[in-house]
């Protein structure tokens, strides 16, 4: 049985995907060593060795075994530390639903949000906002069905779907701030608006959720770097 001291997370404070791993470990009360990758300065030897295929964070290192891909990591944590609170629901169909929405967020919704950063001009950026809002309305509906009147997608406690979605709240707020938009709103997504507050205040989440202002500054810096890299040198 491996000791908790043998658990490391390679990550970055701004990454929603890293947050998923850390929230899961917090839910299970697992002690771990967190290693911050300074991605703009070059990736560490440990990261390149542990994730040779993608060279990306997060990586969970348990003993000497690296586990990659945030949702794979969360499921691993749920299975290994099985005496702690469950992260995935116990019903097979509910598990499938939770996985479905996690895939939707990773493959459709968040990639759409990322296009705002690369969009040229305010009009292009503003065109993306309705797409994100549409997605959130779907998630509002899903929340109604999955939570069944309880505070979280997972019921009384944070579960897989809460983690998969909630990790994006920091970037969601940055997007709202920088585009003068309201993605989560009283009229379209009232339940999610309240859920977001509960999620961010949760003990397993609050220390790993980045502050919106800090994230906004970081976002400006990245965009400036990306633009500089894309500008042809005369």
């Amino acid at each position: 049985m491996l000791k908790s001291e043998d658990v490391k997370v390679l990550g970055s404070w701004s990454s929603p995907f890293v947050m998923r791993a850390r929230i899961a470990l917090n839910i299970k009360s697992v002690n771990y060593e967190y290693l911050e990758e300074r991605l703009w300065e070059g990736k560490s030897e440990l990261l390149l060795k542990s994730n040779p295929v993608h060279k990306k964070i997060p990586v969970l290192i348990h003993g000497d075994k690296p586990i990659c891909e945030s949702l794979v990591i969360v499921q691993y944590i749920d299975e290994v530390w099985s005496s702690g609170p469950s992260i995935l629901p116990s019903d097979s169909h509910e598990r499938a639903t939770a996985r479905f929405w996690a895939a939707y967020l990773d493959e459709k919704w968040f990639p759409t949000m990322k296009t705002i950063g690369l969009a040229q001009g305010e009009d292009a950026r503003k065109a993306v906002i309705p797409q994100l809002e549409e997605g959130l309305v779907l998630l509002e509906e899903a929340f109604g069905k999955c939570s069944k009147g309880k505070p979280f997608f997972g019921g009384d406690q944070i579960g897989f779907q809460d983690i998969a979605f909630g990790c994006f709240l920091g970037w969601l707020r940055v997007t709202e701030k920088m585009n003068g938009a309201k993605l989560l709103s009283e009229d379209k997504t009232p339940a999610l608006l309240e859920w977001a507050h509960r999620f961010c205040s949760d003990a397993a989440v609050k220390d790993v959720m980045p502050e919106t202002d800090k994230l906004a500054e970081f976002s400006k810096m990245i965009m400036a770097k990306m633009r500089a890299a894309a500008t042809p040198k005369s």
Partner: protein
């Protein structure tokens, strides 16, 4: 005869509830050339699950039932079990593995499960990139071919390693996902006139193709080869005429 099977299972220390028993009606909405529904067919056959297959007339004639069961994506495959729909092929495979645990798709060990999930996801994501070459022409095609080779190289070196199957001695989830090679990649290679997986260049993947194709479940459940070639030929021609009139 009507069996009420146990609906509780201890699964990696958690109790999983299967709220409708394994004998409830199973339907699969699919499309015969699609690798995404093909892998679900293989999983159901591997586990001996009886199901009704509904062939969707894609892309222009989606059935009302499909749109009702998968309103978010409006895509196949959709598995409907006891009236409840499940969408997204990898989600479906995990669901099938939980409800019908015989001939498991995922290993028991937690770390090995994480490895299997990693590669299933990798191949699922890279699959469409791997076959981009068949709709490209000229220089763009060369670039796409190089991308495919790079992806296969990663799978050969890091994914399969020295195992017979991705799942070890027996097929697992990643094998069913990589299976797109035999009914998608090979026909496309023939149409374009390239060959990726040769014994000299990809010895492990080459051996894997032979082992995988010979499995009875696979052999008996692949779409007709010439029908597939026809289908992709027509698609490529349509694409060429609309996008690249000069090629």
């Amino acid at each position: 005869m009507y069996f009420l099977l146990k609906n509780k299972r201890i699964y990696k220390g958690h109790q999983i509830m299967i709220n409708h028993h394994s004998m409830d009606e199973v339907k699969l909405f699919g499309f015969w050339p699609s690798p995404f529904s093909r892998r679900v067919i293989w999983a159901l056959k591997l586990k001996g699950v009886n199901y009704e297959y509904i062939e969707e007339d894609l892309p222009y004639n989606k059935s009302d039932l499909l749109l009702q069961y998968n309103p978010v994506h409006k895509k196949i495959p959709v598995l409907v079990h006891g009236g409840k729909p499940i969408a997204e092929s990898l989600v479906i495979l995990e669901y099938i593995d939980e409800v019908w645990p015989q001939n498991p798709l995922l290993p028991k060990d937690s770390y090995e499960r994480s490895v299997a999930r990693f590669w299933a996801k990798f191949i699922d994501e890279k699959g469409p990139i791997m076959w981009e070459f068949y709709l490209k022409f000229g220089e763009e095609q060369e670039k796409a071919i190089n991308n495919s080779i790079e992806i296969l190289r990663t799978i050969e070196e890091h994914g399969l390693e020295d195992k017979k199957f991705f799942g070890g001695d027996k097929m697992g989830i990643t094998d069913l996902v990589f299976g797109l090679v035999i009914h998608i990649l090979v026909p496309m290679e023939e149409i374009v006139g390239v060959k990726f997986i040769k014994e000299e260049t990809f010895p492990r993947l080459h051996a894997w193709i032979k082992n995988f194709s010979e499995q009875p479940i696979i052999k008996d459940n692949v779409p007709d080869y010439s029908r597939v070639v026809d289908f992709f030929k027509r698609r490529r021609e349509t694409y060429r005429l609309s996008a690249h009139p000069n090629h």
